[in-house]
Symmetry: C2
Subunit: 561 residues, 2 copies
């Protein structure tokens, strides 16, 4: 029987931490590091960021944490949308699920407390259908989290989906197989009913208002947040990574794609504008977000197909599979959303299958057919569902773009070496949101300075995860943490300085590494697959050549652990 | 391009070591511990034991070593039959294969040297057919090693098969997926042609003869080697493990099987004697072996079906799958032999699939059909081929009877706790031949004394592996190492004392742990799956309760490493 703990104790050790700091602290303190991730001793923690629900733009994100069945280490996965916001509105800072159960329940949270309903009617359904059913049953105003058929089957690539502001269950806590952990605990869905809950009020309204205004101004002034992302979304990266030789193509064998223009942010925008109807090239996943990097992809008749079509989805489900047709990529993206699976891990798994010629590169039809086998848990579906690392082991394929068992996002580590450092050394496994260096001012092809860049980015990304703030605020906020501290202080009524914010992020990384160390990780895990060191990416003419000694100063065996 | 190194340098650092000591030394010294096991940096080493080919009974065994794709650690797998003997006759102490290649070759060794022939005609064939083809092409006098369809496909449970004295390719280096390493190096078969090679002569014939006589007398006096094994084979263990509650049943969920009498050594012997024809309840895998624990299983018409039907095969492919019909078990055994796969790992993988209801417990037909999917590499075949640990990960099943990624042989570690210690702490992963404690004089249900028993057994088993001696000699030879030292000294012409033999085994274990440590193993790997600690084996009324602190004094993090 899974149980629910609602922590509201402001005097507790958790009072000044939120988001990832909170999930990782609970996992570190309460989960035995060597336990089976799908067994009774693992815990699944949902936590709001420090600013979630405050009204600050792009800061309604939340964290889900657990021991990951994909990496075997600690995991935090972070998303936007409205579900975390609803949790915050309910005054819940962390939901902690313990133990396991065999049947599936819908967990209903409201001001009346918690109840568990039978999930039978939505088992085996596509996520869009299940979400519609939930909103019909519980009211259109509720927010939900839910897992799909993959999570029910405890597949490694299964995710937890939240809702965007239009009700689509397409905001993903994608990484690390957390949907499988939810599945093991019998959690099919969580319904958050905020009826009768008033607006969150900052503890110090005047100070909050002042700091908020400043913060919003920064967002509106920064080029990325005010112009590039609202126009082109994250797909704007296709052009830049392709020119760096970092666009993963054909199972990360090379970093450019001949037809990259077909899948670029510009083409995507043009297509969506032409199509109209449900399509829109800019869309806010969280109410009031200034950045609006998201989009909605519709077909030629104007019908809704899927959303969002992000850079990572296009890179992993597109170029990585040698698929350059946006409609084909959208169909793969749609299936991922319907089954509740991580697009990155799915693209990684399909890429390895293509390297083994189980499906041909470029064969979108084959990829779509294979993906559909996930729904009924057929053997090929199970294989894909286990993630790229295991697909490699199942087929004896050494070219597997993973680190700590998790598929790399859409940046070849030979061409953006700072991300290679992040992949190799982050406690989270390969994950761009754990230490994104693409905007660092250095030569991405050179090994010089990458360790410093990744180290800084890993701290910065943890800061956003703790605050509940979108990483796209980085350009606007970086270096202005004292004022963000003021914003937090005014909101929660506890003094939080800029230094506190930075130190909390560093402490979070430290306990994550400590957990992983207890779980059995060593410096041998702080590396990339052999082929990134040995086989040149012909687009960038580089191999990954940041030295192991340098990597080990960042990873699990670093001196301060 | 794989290459062949023939080491005959008697002055080398390898001069007083053989078998596992030699393979592990070469792997430890020459293979980067973190390399991909199927990549170019792994090596595959075949080495004869110190006494292989000397004429000593039960001592023609040999070792194959590599970094294992199944465990990720160092691996040595040991077998009898005639192939190691032939390598010894050719004067080769170790064959070392480096690098990888995409096509398959037959490696032909004779007094004329080495040649590489095209393996195309035997690719995709059953092992019996391939072995017949090889003996037709190269002569009936040759000995062979070969891999099957599983090794060609680089599956984790693929083995390397040698020949028994009747030419059947049924002597298995089964554990650790070494067939996949051979496959990655393009080695389909190795043909050993000893034409023109004289009998091996000991350096000191008189002393050798005297020591040999004594050794053979010990074998003929000891009850296990002189009576139990020749009569009932290893299947004699069914009765004793069942009475201990240690016979793995229904995916290691309980340690007794209702119908255990149907699969006991007594029933097997009676069946084979009644059937006659090809059947025989006792059979020597190596020429001149006094123990003759092997057997040949024929059908009711007297036709050859498979061999040998050993205890591990009966336990893993029988009781573990709730199959109690010897003919059904024999058919599963036959398929394993034809595809070149490890019976233990196969039974483990099928057991986990049955726990997940992909196949029903007891459904031999379903298991046979599933196994056949290995041949063409269909998805379910690939899943089984990846081994039990990965099947568990693919299906999200926490009840997986593995340690360090390798399936446990047929002894529930809750009921024979010394073997539990071996499973948890051996550098080889779960393996009874890495530290067999079943004959230790203690209460197998108690945690007391198990660490000492396992530690002693791990050293003893390494001694047999180094000498090329069958572990079934243990009862006869244990404690008489000085005289075995005389036997070795007289054979190789280098002074080897009993103490040297023991120290070499300890040194071997040490470098194996050291390799594993570099490969990333920690004390977190020196444990069994959670459920062995948490869920009682109702047959023995025990859980595994040897303390982690004690385990860590034996495993990879022990003090002397």
């Amino acid at each position: 029987m899974s149980s629910l703990a609602v922590s509201e104790d402001k005097e507790s050790k958790y009072k000044k931490i939120g988001g990832r700091a909170l999930t990782s602290k609970i996992i570190h303190d309460e989960v035995p590091a060597t336990c089976h991730p799908l067994g009774s001793k693992n815990k699944l923690v949902f936590a709001t960021g420090l600013l979630t629900g405050s009204g600050a733009s792009s800061a309604d994100r939340y964290s889900i944490g657990a021991k990951s069945p994909l990496t075997g280490g600690i995991k935090e996965s972070n998303a936007g949308g409205i579900s975390g916001l609803a949790l915050g509105k309910l005054g819940v800072r962390a939901l902690v699920f313990e133990n396991i159960r065999d049947d599936f329940k819908i967990v209903h949270l409201s001001t009346s407390g918690v109840k568990f309903d039978d999930a039978e009617p939505i088992l085996g359904k596509d996520l869009s259908e299940a979400a519609t059913w939930l909103r019909e049953k519980y009211g259109k105003h509720v927010a939900v989290w839910l897992i799909g058929v993959a999570g029910e089957q405890k597949m490694n690539l299964s995710a937890i989906a939240g809702q965007d502001k239009d009700g689509h269950p397409t905001r993903y806590n994608g990484r690390g197989g957390l949907g499988a952990v939810a599945g093991s605990k019998g959690i099919k869905a969580i319904v958050l009913d905020t009826s009768g809950v008033g607006k969150n009020r900052p503890e110090d309204r005047d100070e909050f208002k002042a700091a908020l205004k400043e913060y919003h101004n920064w967002l509106m002034e920064a080029p990325a947040t005010s112009k590039v992302f609202p126009e082109l979304g994250t797909a704007s990266l296709v052009e830049s990574t392709n020119s760096l030789g970092a666009l993963p193509t054909r199972n990360f064998s090379i970093g450019t794609m001949e037809d990259y223009k077909n899948i670029s942010g510009e083409t995507l925008r043009k297509t969506l504008l032409e199509r109209g109807g449900a399509s829109t090239p800019t869309h806010a996943c969280m109410p009031g977000c200034i950045i609006r990097c998201s989009n909605v992809f519709g077909d030629e008749e104007g019908n809704y197909v899927t959303g969002p079509m992000e850079y990572e989805n296009i890179g992993l489900l597109g170029s990585n599979l040698d698929i350059s047709d946006l409609d084909e990529i959208a169909e793969l993206n749609r299936l991922c959303n319907e089954y509740g699976i991580d697009t990155i891990e799915t693209g990684g798994a399909l890429g390895v299958l293509m390297a083994q010629n189980v499906i041909s590169f470029g064969d979108a039809e084959g990829a779509i057919a294979a993906l559909k086998e996930i729904k009924e848990g057929k053997p090929l579906g199970r294989i894909i569902g286990s993630g790229a690392e295991l697909v490699g082991k199942i087929y004896g394929e050494p070219h597997v773009p993973t680190a700590k068992g998790q598929t790399m996002p859409a940046y070849d580590p030979r061409a953006i070496k700072g991300l290679g450092v992040t992949y190799a050394t982050s406690p989270q496994g390969a994950d761009h949101t754990a230490g994104q260096t693409i905007r660092a001012q250095l030569d991405h092809h050179s090994p010089e300075g990458q360790v410093e860049a990744s180290r800084g980015a890993q701290t910065a990304n943890t800061i956003w995860d703790n605050l509940g703030m979108c990483m796209f605020s980085a350009g606007a906020v970086q270096g202005r943490f004292d004022r963000i501290g003021d914003l937090v202080t005014a909101y929660i009524g506890e003094k939080v300085t800029g230094e506190d914010i930075i130190n909390s992020a560093k402490e979070t990384l430290k306990i994550e590494h400590a957990f992983n160390k207890k779980a059995g990780f060593t410096k041998a895990d702080d590396k990339l697959a052999d082929y990134f060191y040995e086989e040149e990416n012909k687009a960038s003419n580089t191999v990954f050549d940041v030295s192991q000694e340098e990597l080990e100063t960042v990873g699990v065996d670093r001196d301060d652990l």
